[in-house]
Amino acid sequence: MDQEHSKSSIVEIKNFSFFYGESQTLYDINLSIQEKCVTALIGPSGCGKSTLIRSINRMNDLVEEARHQGEILFQGDNIYHPNMEVISLRKRIGMVFQKYNPFPKSIYENVIFGLRVAGIRDSKILEETVEKSLKGAALWDEVKDRLHESAFSLSGGQMQRLCIARAIANEPEVILMDEPCSALDPIATAKVEDLLHELSKKYTIVIVTHNMQQAGRVSNYTAFLFMGKLIEFGSTSDLFTTPREKKTEEYITGRFG
């Protein structure tokens, strides 16, 4: 099965362990993420989901005294190799955070932030990108008349979609989403979930979620983490219907977590 997947796997996590100072958070994770699929990471709080997803675009570099072992390959290159350009890596692996975090700028400026820092000035490109990204994030119709208003004038759900638009404006290959719906109400959540379907046609998506139904609805593959260890990984339908591990079954049926 591994052999079969590796053809189209875009991120390969190999024997990856992670430490915050002295305390180990991730233990020897092996996981391969398939291109243009939605991969869900589930597991009880504190099991290391965020740590793992943040390792994929090296956001953990911000944390002092963090260490890792093993490697993560992105299209075959180890992202922790000294010669890896972190900036271009992050352009290729975008991220949407748990709590929507638009910049204190206009909606327009928020979307094109990635292009601006990349030095793109051509206003035609910028405008096209704004429209395309906002459409991609299913936000265009709601904000097209107020692009130059502050991003803070949007509702929470709109802001989260704005953050998604910001992430896809860079046209990344992978989008990492850490509980993107946890701060949203059911209707906004539904909108984002619909969006995920659309996005998965173009992008590879890794999503962390606490919501089993959501994982079931949106993902093709699911990884179950427990206490920093990858307990089970497989196609979502398999994992939810016939879990191989007892822990997995207990967790998805809600007996703990």
Binding site: L62, R90, K91, F97, N101, P104, F113, V117, A118, A167
Partner: protein, 763 residues
């Protein structure tokens, strides 16, 4: 509603809560009251500066109608008014009943009848001249004695000069004057050993004016014997006869007036008398009255139509000669054929009456201090020597004596904020010079140079400190290793608590001499530092990652600091060479080519180069301001939520881009208020400017000259300012302006800060 007991707050909680609410409200109110109280106090000290003069009537007596007074004289204490009658009698007016007492007859031992009388208050002389061409000069002295519970002054009259002009003319071979002759005008001035009598005689042919020079033999005991030293007739440019003569109290300037209304200015020195200038003050009017004001620099002229103005002896446009220039113009007087005039001997005020109207005016500011009207035309006016009383005599022989209360005659908006043409200056100007050497000194009290100095000092301090503090704060919050951050911040806070007197001391006694001949080095440092820093950054970016990894993140400065220090050292050492190449000038004294930045600067820009200059203030004050801006900015930069930084980095921004595009705008409000707090400190800073500049109140942005700030001015002048005097109140006014400046800066800062915060607020 019945609340179960367990949900009820306890009584003590409620009581403490209530009590604290009241206490806090009380505290807040008292604070507001205290601030208002201080403002009120300062205002109450300042307001009198803008008030006019007040007078209160002391006495009013009717003199005998057969008296025809020629002049009115007030003594120093306003106790014993005198007048001189047309027959030469000096009479005092009793303040009890208005009865007059004959004191002396000035012409009793002269030949002829009194035809000319002049009172010269500066030296307290009474001059008389007769139709027998005899003159005499009397000095009035006062002897104080106790009369009951009151002090009384008893005047005595000493004849100090007396000459027969007729005899002098004859002895000096002047051709004799035809027909009936009499003396019409007189002047007498003593200045050191020089004494001058000016006298005008009318004959059938018209007027003749003569200048009699006297010489006093110097002796150890003071005044020696006075001898005659020459006689000159004064003539206009084309030989015009002079009708009236005025001599200033320094006895160096003589002004004559001819029949056409032209004034001639003669300059007197040991060589003799030179006609220097002629001027016509009015196009159409005839000059009716003229006199020198206190100090002998300003010449006050009234025309027949009521125009009145001042010509002052000022340096001309080329700055070579002192000539009369029209400097002041006053409100019109009622046109009349004779004006009554008296000048103050305390300041530049004078009292002038035209017909029924009387006004007290101030020459420097052109202000009217007080105005009044009597029922009948006024004939004579007088001011007491101390500027505490004024008196006038009207045509109905009614004498009125007033107490004059005008503590701040030189005050007013124009004095403090406007341009004024001071005596001796070649232009109207903003100037501050509160005290001078002499009694007749005109205090220059414009606050504009001080406000300018405050802004200048603040500007240079901010130019120096803001970039350093801001970049340091940005580096510390965004790039520095957290462990070092813990050391840097407290260190900066210690720096903030450094007493400014130490910074001032270092600035004045170490930095100023060090930099005075090393400006080229400083310029080189300013060029080298950014260049080297950028260069270093480029090289660092080129290095392979393996090499860069050797240094942990945030420790990069371990290599940059030695390189930058080396750059500074090199720049410092190369400075003199740089000076030798670039800043060469021809020494004006020796004619040789020399390399000296100071001389170069003065020659190129025409501005002075001083050792204690704005650069030193900028650096020294900058050091006082840097820690403030640094700590507050660093705090607000560090408070930018991590989520924004993460979002930016996740979009592919570099750390530098994140810092500039996300962190700085988001923290802009904080950085801005940090700058404003720093600005407030710089505006009010006293010790550093006091010590590190020459405290000259000049108005130029030249970085190589000093300044005087409002606060330093307060520190410099307060010890010398007499309690409740004008200077004392002006210093309070300066304080008030300082307060207003900081208030305005803070208000604008707060409004802008709120605007920025609203714009860049984070969730």
């Amino acid at each position: 509603m019945n609340i179960p007991e367990r949900f009820k707050p306890s009584r003590s909680v409620l009581m403490i809560d209530q009590w604290m609410t009241r206490f806090i409200r009380f505290g807040g109110m008292s604070l507001i009251i205290a601030v208002f109280g201080i403002c009120f106090f300062i205002l109450s000290q300042v307001i009198p500066l803008f008030g006019g003069a007040e007078i209160t009537l002391l006495h009013q007596f009717k003199l005998d109608s057969h008296f025809k007074p020629l002049t009115l004289i007030l003594d120093e204490w306003g106790e014993l008014p005198l007048f001189v009658n047309e027959n030469g009698e000096v009479r005092s007016i009793s303040q009890k009943d208005g009865r007059t007492t004959l004191l002396i007859n000035l012409v009793s031992d002269l030949k002829g009848n009194l035809t000319a009388l002049r009172y010269e208050p500066e030296q307290n002389n009474l001059l008389v001249g007769t139709d027998a061409l005899e003159i005499a000069v009397y000095r009035i002295d006062y002897e104080r004695f106790q009369d009951g519970d009151q002090m009384q002054g008893n005047p005595s009259f000493h004849k100090i000069q007396s000459y027969s002009i007729e005899k002098l003319l004859r002895e000096n071979l002047f051709k004799s004057l035809k027909g009936k002759t009499f003396i019409t005008d007189l002047a007498y001035v003593e200045s050191g050993s020089r004494k001058i009598i000016a006298s005008t005689i009318k004959s059938e042919e018209g007027y003749h004016s003569y200048l009699i020079k006297l010489k006093e033999a110097s002796s150890l005991l003071g005044g020696g014997e006075v001898t005659f030293d020459g006689l000159d007739e004064l003539k206009g440019k084309a030989g015009e006869n002079i009708q009236k003569v005025y001599v200033n109290n320094l006895a160096d300037a003589v002004v004559g007036l001819d029949a056409t209304g032209t004034f001639f200015y003669y300059w007197l020195d040991s060589d003799g008398i030179k006609l220097k200038q002629s001027f016509v003050p009015f196009d159409e009017e005839k000059p009716i009255f003229a006199d020198f004001l206190l100090g002998g620099n300003s010449f006050y002229i009234i025309g027949g139509e009521g125009s009145n103005l001042i010509y002052s002896l000022n340096l001309d446009k080329n700055g070579e000669e002192r000539l009369f220039q029209k400097t002041k113009q006053f409100n019109h007087l009622v046109p009349t054929s004779s004006y009554a005039f008296a000048k103050s001997l305390r300041n530049k005020a004078f009292l002038v009456a035209a017909e029924k109207e009387i006004s007290l005016r101030y020459a420097t500011t052109e202000n009217i201090r007080w105005e009044g009207e009597s029922l009948v035309p006024i004939q004579h006016v007088a001011l007491s020597r101390k500027y505490e009383h004024l008196a006038y005599l009207d045509s109905a022989n009614q004498f009125s004596l007033y107490k004059l209360n005008d503590p701040h005659p030189e005050g007013g908006w124009r004095t403090f904020f406007g341009k004024i043409w001071y005596e001796g200056a070649s232009n109207p100007e903003y100037a501050w010079q509160s005290t001078g050497g002499t009694d007749d000194f005109e205090p220059k009290l414009s606050l504009i140079p001080l406000i300018f100095g405050t802004l200048k000092g603040t500007l240079y301090a901010m130019l120096f400190s803001f970039p350093i503090a801001f970049i340091a704060a940005l580096y510390t919050s965004e790039f520095l290793h957290p462990r070092l951050k813990k050391i840097v911040k407290p260190t900066m806070e210690v720096m903030a608590s450094l007493p400014s007197v130490i910074l001032g001391f270092i600035g004045a006694f170490w930095l100023a001499p060090l930099l005075s001949d090393r400006v080229p080095s400083l310029i080189l440092i300013l060029i080298f530092l950014p260049l080297v820093a950028v260069f270093l950054g480029i090289i660092w970016a080129q290095l392979p990652n393996q090499l860069r990894r050797i240094l942990p993140k945030g420790m990069e400065f371990f290599i940059s600091i030695p390189v930058l220090l080396l750059a500074i050292f090199l720049a410092w050492k190369l400075g003199p060479l740089f000076e030798l190449i670039v800043f060469t000038v021809i020494d004006p004294t020796t004619g040789q080519v020399i390399a000296d930045f100071g001389t170069w600067w003065s020659q190129i820009t025409g501005l002075p180069f001083e050792q204690r200059n704005s650069l030193i203030v900028g650096i020294a004050m900058g050091f006082a301001v840097i820690p403030i801006i640094f700590t507050i900015s660093e705090d607000s930069l560090a408070q930018v939520p991590l989520s924004l930084r993460s979002a930016s980095l996740a979009c592919g921004a570099s750390r530098w881009q994140t810092a500039i595009r996300v962190v700085v705008p988001t923290a802009a409000a904080g950085v801005f208020s940090a700058t404003m707090v720093g600005l407030g400190r710089a505006v009010g800073e006293t010790m550093i400017v006091l010590m590190a500049t020459g405290n000259t109140p000049i108005m130029e942005w030249n970085i190589f000259s000093g300044m005087r700030t409002l606060s330093a001015n307060l520190a410099v002048e307060l010890p010398e300012a007499p309690f409740h005097g004008t200077l004392y109140r002006v210093l309070f006014l300066g304080g008030l302006i300082l307060f207003l400046m900081t208030f305005i800066v803070n208000t604008i800062a707060e409004l802008l800060r709120q605007y920025i915060r609203e714009r860049y607020k984070t969730l």
